[in-house]
Amino acid sequence: MALETIGTQVATDSADADVSDPGLLKLRDLIYRISGIYHPDSKFYLLATRARRRMTELNVATFSQYFDQLTTHASRDAEMRRLLNEITIGETYCFRSPAQVDALVKIILPKLLALPGKQSLKKLRIWSAGCSTGEEPYSLSILMMEEVLAKHAGWKVEIIATDLNENSIAKCNEGVYGDYAMRNVTPERRAKYFRAEGNRFRVNDEVRANIRFERLNLQDQSRMLFMRGFDLVFCCNVLIYFDRPAKQRTVEHFHNALVPGGYFFLGECETLFGINDQFRLIHFPGTTGYGKPAPGEEAGGKA
C-alpha cells in the first residue's frame, strides 16, 4: 500500500524533486541531524515541496540560500521549527500506517497478550504521547476493540493520550473528524465506530471509553516519572522538535514507562540512532519499531 502511494505521488510531483540539487541534499542531512527524520529518495519530492512552501514565504530562491537561513541566521531555530511543522503537517490521519497496523495485529499483540503475568491481569496499557488532535488514540482504540476486547473475554484496554497543546486536547475531546482524517477508515469502520454529522464524523462513546486525554509536557521531569506500566508507547513526530539532550531524556522516560517486552513506535521516517541504546530496533514487515527486551531476551536474538 505504501508503495502504491509513493508510486502515484512520484509520478505527479517528481518535477519538484531534483535529487542532484546539492542544496536540497544538504537540507536533508540537516533535518536528519537535527530532528532524526530521514527523507529517503522516495520521499525527496515531499521535502522539496514542503521546503519550497517556506522559501516562498521567506522570498528565498534556492535550497542553498534556505539552508543558510536555517544554519546561520539569528532566527534559525524558529525557522527550523516552522519547517518541521510544514514537514509533519498532513501526517495525522486515522490508521495512517497499514504496515504498523499489521505488525500490531499479527505480531505484537499476540506476544503482549502472552507475556508472563498478563493472563491474570488481563489489561493492556497504551500511551499515545503527543497525540495531536486524537486520530492516533482513536485508531488504536478501535483496533484494540477489534483485536483484544472482541476476541478475548475479560480483558481491558486503557489508552492514555497526552499532548502539550490545550487546543489539541480540546479537539481530542470533541472527537469530530473530516475527510482528510478519515481517508484510511473503511466504510465498515465508519459505520460501526462513528456517527455522521453533516460531512463530518463523530467518534462513538464506546471508542472514547478506552481513552483518557490529558495535557502533558514530555519535558516535565516530575510528571514523566509517574508514567509507568505501559505495553505500547507511540510518539510520532514529537521528538523531532527536541534538542539532543532532551531527546535522550525523553526516550529514557519512555523506556522506563514500558514493561519489559513492550514496544515503542516513532513516526514513519524517524530514527533513534545515536539517541538511545537501551531500545532494540525491531524490523517488522514494512515498518520498524523499538523493543524493550523481555526477561530472557537480553542475550539477543529474534523478537
Partner: protein
C-alpha cells in the same frame, strides 16, 4: 553438506532427467571470462550477447535500469560492455537471461515473485557492502541474485513436496528453512549448492548459496554470506519477499551476521540501520518496475 543429503539430492536429480542446464549464453560467457584478465576477448562478449536479439534488448534495459546505470545511458551492447566493464556485464547478462529462462518451468513460487526477491537482494547486498566500506562491493551482486537458486531446484525436483513446504511456511509462520528441513530433510541451501556445482558458478557464489543461513560455516565467504543474509532479510521485510506476510519481528543488530560484520568493519557501528531500511523503499519501487517490464503480462498482487 551431509553426505546422505548429497546422495539423495543427486539421485533425485538424476532420476528426474536432472537439473536444467545453464543457459548456453552464460556457459559461453563463463568460458570467455575464465581467460586471463589481459586476454579477455571483448568483441567475443559483445557478439555473444548480441546474437539473441531479445536477450540483447533485455540486457540494454537492464544496463540502463536503476540496478546498474552509470552516469550516461548506454545505447548499444558494445557501449554497455565498455561503460560497465566485463564483470558488471556478466551480472547484467545473468539478470537478463535467467528470469525468462526458467519462467516456463512448472514453478512453485511465481517467477515474478522469485526474481523480485533475487534482484532486490542483489541490489541491496551491493548497497550494504558499499555502506560498510567493504572493498569491491559490486562483487556481491551475483551472489545476491543467485543466493536462493535452490528454491528453483526444489521446485523442479520436488514439485509437490515443495509446494507443500511453501504453503506450510506461509500459513504456519515458520521460516522456510525449518519447514524444508521438516518436510524434505534438506533445505534450498543444499539443493542450491548442487545446482551451483552443476552450473560451475564461481566458488564464492556457490559458497554463499550453501551457507547464507549458516554464515559461520562459510569459510572464506563468511563476510559475503553475512551481507547476503542481511540483504535477503531486509528485502523480505521491505516489499521484496516471497509474496507472503512473514509474521515476525527481527532484531537485526543482535543477529550473528550483523555482529560478525560489526567486528570486521568499523563502518557498521556508524550505520543507522533504520535509515538504511527507509532507503530501501525506493529500491523496491525500482526493482518492481523492472520486474513488471520483464514479466509484462504477470503482475504481482502481493
Amino acid at each position: 553438506m551431509n553426505p546422505a543429503t548429497e546422495t539423495l539430492l543427486q539421485r533425485r536429480a538424476a532420476a528426474l532427467g536432472n537439473l536444467p542446464a545453464m543457459p548456453s549464453v552464460l556457459q559461453s560467457l563463463g568460458v570467455c571470462l575464465s581467460a586471463n584478465p589481459s586476454e579477455v576477448n571483448i568483441e567475443r562478449i559483445v557478439e555473444l550477447i548480441s546474437y539473441d536479439k531479445a536477450l540483447a534488448a533485455q540486457c540494454l534495459r537492464m544496463a540502463n535500469s536503476a540496478l546498474f546505470r552509470g552516469r550516461a545511458e548506454v545505447e548499444s551492447i558494445r557501449g554497455a560492455v565498455l561503460a560497465l566493464g566485463i564483470w558488471r556485464i556478466r551480472d547484467v547478462v545473468y539478470s537478463s537471461a535467467l528470469p525468462n529462462f526458467l519462467a516456463g518451468s512448472d514453478n512453485c513460487m511465481a517467477p515474478p515473485v522469485f526474481w523480485r526477491h533475487a534482484l532486490g537482494t542483489a541490489l541491496v547486498s551491493q548497497h550494504l557492502a558499499q555502506r560498510l566500506a567493504i572493498p569491491n562491493p559490486d562483487r556481491f551482486y551475483l551472489a545476491g541474485l543467485l543466493h536462493d537458486i535452490g528454491i528453483i531446484a526444489n521446485s523442479l525436483l520436488f514439485r509437490d513436496e515443495f509446494a507443500r513446504v511453501l504453503h506450510r511456511a506461509e500459513t504456519s509462520e515458520t521460516p522456510l528453512c525449518e519447514v524444508e528441513q521438516q518436510v524434505l530433510g534438506f533445505t534450498h541451501c543444499e539443493s542450491g549448492r548442487i545446482l551451483a556445482d552443476t552450473w560451475r558458478l564461481p566458488r564464492e557464489v556457490a559458497s554463499v548459496i550453501e551457507y547464507h543461513h549458516h554464515v559461520r560455516a562459510a569459510g572464506d565467504s563468511v563476510e559475503m554470506s553475512c551481507v547476503i543474509y542481511l540483504a535477503d532479510l531486509l528485502c523480505r521485510l521491505r516489499g521484496m519477499g516471497y509474496g507472503y506476510y512473514e509474521a515476525r519481528g527481527f532484531d537485526l543488530a543482535s543477529e550473528e551476521p550483523w555482529l560478525i560484520l560489526q567486528s570486521k568493519y568499523a563502518a557498521a557501528k556508524e550505520l543507522d540501520l533504520a535509515r538504511f531500511t527507509f532507503e530501501l523503499d525506493q529500491r523496491a519501487v525500482e526493482v518492481q518496475e523492472l520486474i513488471n517490464e520483464i514479466f509484462k503480462d504477470k503482475r504481482i498482487v502481493n
